[in-house]
């Protein structure tokens, strides 16, 4: 009896009724795993008895006492909406991967765990990166835990962890040791592999393809280097003045189509697992193809044979992904459908880029400024590609990616300003020539290049 009494006293000294499990808090535990180009997060939400009714009400929006599939999805999206994720200051978009809910009755008892899994893509970045996660979900009743797994990738090393007092803010600093691994292409390779393995359907792959070009600095640079001399006519070893508009458009269409055919061919072969080359070799070859295109923009190397060369380069670019697609778990037809979607996305975006800069190029090619523009663009592409070659061969510093990225991120503005500048220059030239001799022909003689 005495035993029992003192036990009671001991327990009453708690001041509150005794429960074995979470009582008046909403525990939100998050575990992050950092990969190349991606983070994966697993969240567990455990409402205590005292707060479970509030959580149940938040999930069960129609109040029918059950958590429907749609209600679960909506609540999970709400949770994701309450998170703030960023890498190196750039906001991340979480992508819901899976949810699982307990029965409302269990949750009411404080026995239910909600699981939410999501991931987010990271843009390519430097060797030192900072991931920040803030959890603003139900701050008044919640207890937070945030932790990172030791990265599986030996090239990623966590250098510091910082949290605020209640762990609603978590900052993870990490180093990516191997710049080779951190390159744009390897990032995209892993992205493509992830999506293929998950088989998210053709539309999703299509969007991924469009994004690849929109963010793909080396692809963009290559495209621009190829397009730079397209409106011009080669005379012996020099670029002469502009051809007719029709000639220019036809030439561009031929070059772009040829590249597309080459690119599609190796991608498809890769999807079937028929081609494979070491990725470093491919990456160097791609950089080399940009260098060749840049030199060609300076002085014609293969005048008239641009489409053939473009097709060859297309083959090389397609290999960049072919190398990793061979042995994925999905069936061959799913893989082909995915690749097709991805490729269509690439071509569509390529077309968008071409359509948005071609008018500028054609207009600009009819002004004196085009020589400067062409030389500047070619030199830029040339140096960038040289940088890439060195970097990919010897694993040097990755300053090129950062620099080109910085330009590519402003791509839309650059394209718009380019158009404006070209129109202004063309109008000025037109005004000048109107003031002088009335001439129907553009005075191409003044545009002779080196």
């Amino acid at each position: 009896m005495k035993t029992r009494l003192s036990t009671l006293i001991a327990i009453l000294s708690l001041g509150l009724p005794v429960f074995a499990h979470r009582l008046d808090e909403y525990l939100q535990a998050m575990i992050v795993s950092v990969e190349q180009g991606r983070i994966q997060v697993s969240m567990r939400l455990i409402p205590g008895v005292a707060v479970s009714s509030a959580v149940i009400a938040a999930v069960d929006s129609n109040g029918d006492g059950a958590f429907s599939e749609a209600e679960q999805q909506t609540y999970a999206q709400e949770v994701l909406g309450d998170l703030r994720l960023s890498v190196d200051g750039h906001a991340l978009k979480p992508r819901l991967r899976g949810v699982s809910f307990p029965a409302p009755a269990d949750m009411k008892e404080g026995l239910g765990e909600i699981h939410i899994e999501f991931d987010a893509d990271l843009r390519a970045g430097g060797p030192h990166r900072t991931l920040v996660i803030e959890n603003h979900h139900e701050p008044r009743m919640s207890v937070y835990l945030m932790n990172s797994l030791v990265p599986q990738d030996p090239n990623i090393r966590v250098t510091a962890q910082n949290r605020n007092q209640n762990q609603s803010y978590f900052r993870l600093d990490y180093a990516q040791a191997d710049p080779q691994q951190n390159s744009f292409l390897s990032l995209w390779r892993s992205r493509l592999v992830t999506r293929l393995a998950a088989f998210e359907g053709v539309p999703s792959m299509f969007r991924l393809g469009m994004r690849h070009i929109a963010e793909g600095t080396d692809h963009l640079l290559f495209l621009i280097a190829l397009l730079l001399p397209a409106p011009l006519l080669a005379v012996r070893s020099h670029w002469a003045g502009a051809g007719s508009i029709r000639q220019s458009v036809v030439q561009v269409v031929r070059v772009v189509s040829a590249f597309t055919i080459g690119h599609s061919a190796t991608l498809a072969l890769g999807a079937w697992g028929l081609v494979s080359l070491p990725s470093r070799v491919v990456e160097v070859l791609i950089a080399f193809s940009i260098l060749v295109s840049a030199v060609h923009a300076l002085r014609p190397l293969f005048p008239g044979r641009e489409p053939a060369i473009a097709a060859g380069f297309g083959l090389v670019h397609g290999l960049a992904f072919a190398t990793t697609l061979g042995n994925l778990g999905v069936g061959p037809w799913q893989r082909v459908a995915s690749i097709l979607g991805f490729n269509l996305g690439i071509e569509t975006m390529q077309l968008v880029v071409v359509i948005s800069i071609l008018p500028s190029l054609i207009i600009l090619s009819r002004t004196a400024a085009y020589t400067v523009f062409r030389l500047g663009g070619a030199l830029l592409a040339g140096f960038a590609s040289l940088g890439w070659i060195i970097e990919r061969l010897f694993g040097g510093p990755d300053f090129v990616d950062g620099f080109v990225d910085c330009i590519a991120q402003r791509g839309v503005w650059i394209a718009i300003s380019l158009l404006v500048i070209s129109i202004v220059l063309w109008l000025r030239r037109h005004a000048q020539s109107n003031r002088g001799i009335f001439s129907e022909q553009p005075s191409d003689q003044t545009l002779e290049g080196i």
Binding site: I11, I46, H115, N147, Q165, V193
Partner: protein, 428 residues
């Protein structure tokens, strides 16, 4: 140990003969040079067999399950593989082949006891698993390995497979407790009695769920054997003891201990549960110098276990003070804290385990969150974590609407060898 040897030998022989394994295993036993661990394994097998023999046929069927050496310790969580990770391939396939195969295997015929099937592990979750590529429905707040389940929730909420002590006769219960006494060190056994006493005290206050001694459940997974892997699980509200046996190896990771109330009175004696875990850690913290303490103390609150049930196979980024920076005395104190968990098991297995932990000590971290002092005679309110290459210990006072000094959960894991995977999974 020596006192038990003849008894053990007789029991082993009886056991082997009855299961028709006599010829095969008998030869192996006679040729091997017995180590202390081998002898201990024989003792554990003998005690387990004695316990099993004390049961009726129906009880026997309820207490013994197939042992399945899973490749990864699956848990109440999503499968990472299905999320696009490289390892493991498509993770979904579990549910389909689960219940059918394995419930059929469920010790229908002991002579055909299945071998561990590491490759096929994923399918064995049976009814607990949810949709493709997911863990069990979110309501499950435990961890599952093969058919074994443990949790920090009461038995009535998360049923453990096996027989509850309350359903055993006195003789059967004695046999079960004797088995634990043989398998654990005397200190470890006492710790478990104290935890059960605490749950018993809690249940006497009229909890709406099953927390007392009667609810403590024992389960045997596989056939007690001196050579092949098998598992013993014993647990209740604040205990999840997972003992995996594999020849000369005995492993008790993962194990969860806890207490509520952390101080209680039994037969006029005050018992403070997990007191050494608390006091030794405070002593270590106070033996650190100013700068070391600064390293060890985290600047944020940790309000719960990070690697509790369901977090098998996860290695979080370590934090705190590295033992490499400690002096000899501090390192010895750290090992002493660790021994509170590593030493729960019988010395024959604890000795190699401590050696392994010592070998990785330089890479072992000590992290603290909360006050640096505690009231004498009471546990503190501070969380701490000890994490090494083969070790994870968490001590987490629970503030769940009450006094955290009266309620604590602790976790003991080996990320490289939970459920003895390192010893049971190499046969594929």
């Amino acid at each position: 140990m020596s006192k038990l040897a003849p008894l053990a030998l007789v029991s082993v022989l009886v056991c082997l003969a009855s299961f028709g394994f006599f010829g095969k295993t008998g030869k192996a036993a006679s040729t091997a040079t017995p180590t202390p661990a081998d002898a201990q394994t024989q003792n554990v097998v003998a005690a387990t067999t004695a316990f099993l023999n004390s049961l009726t046929t129906t009880q026997h069927e309820r207490v013994q399950f197939a042992f399945t050496a899973e490749k990864t310790a699956t848990a109440a969580k999503f499968s990472r593989a299905a999320m696009g990770g490289k390892q493991g391939g498509p993770g979904g396939g579990g549910p389909a082949n689960g219940p059918g195969n394995d419930s059929a295997m469920r010790r229908a015929n002991p002579a055909q006891q299945p071998r561990p099937r590491p490759g096929n592990g994923r399918g064995t979750e049976g009814g607990h698993r949810g949709g493709p590529g997911m863990g069990p429905p979110g309501g499950f707040v435990g961890e599952q390995y093969g058919q074994a389940v443990w949790s920090n929730y009461p038995v009535s909420d998360v049923p453990r497979p096996g027989l509850a002590l309350g359903n055993l006769s006195i003789a059967q219960r004695d046999a079960a407790m004797h088995l634990l006494q043989v398998a654990l060190s005397s200190k470890g056994y006492q710790k478990i009695l104290d935890i059960m006493g605490s749950d018993e005290a809690l249940s006497k206050t009229g909890t709406p769920y099953c927390s007392g001694t009667a609810c403590y459940t024992i389960g045997i997974f596989g056939q007690p054997s001196t050579t092949k892997p098998w598992m013993l699980e014993f647990g209740g509200h604040h205990l999840g003891l997972n003992l995996t046996m594999a020849g000369e190896h005995g492993v008790i990771t993962p194990t969860l201990t806890g207490a509520q109330p952390a101080v209680y009175t039994s037969n006029g004696k005050t018992v403070r549960v997990l007191a050494e875990e608390n006091d030794k850690a405070f002593a270590l913290l106070n033996a650190l110098d100013e700068s070391e303490r600064k390293q060890a103390i985290l600047n944020y609150r940790v309000d719960d276990l990070v690697t509790g049930p369901g977090h098998a196979g996860e290695t979080i980024q370590p934090e705190g003070l590295k033992a490499a920076a400690m002096n000899e005395k501090q390192r010895a104190m750290l090992l002493d804290v660790i021994s509170e968990w590593a030493g729960i098991i019988n010395d024959a297995y604890a000795t190699p385990r401590m050696a392994e932990i010592k070998a990785g000590l330089d890479e072992t971290y000590f992290a603290w969150s909360g006050p640096t002092t505690h009231e004498p005679g009471r546990n503190g309110t501070s969380y701490y974590r000890i994490q090494g290459p083969k070790l994870m210990i968490e001590f987490s006072p629970q503030g769940v609407g009450g006094d955290p000094t009266m309620h604590v959960h602790t976790m003991y894991r080996d990320p490289t060898n939970d459920y003895g995977r390192a010893f049971t999974n190499n046969s594929n």
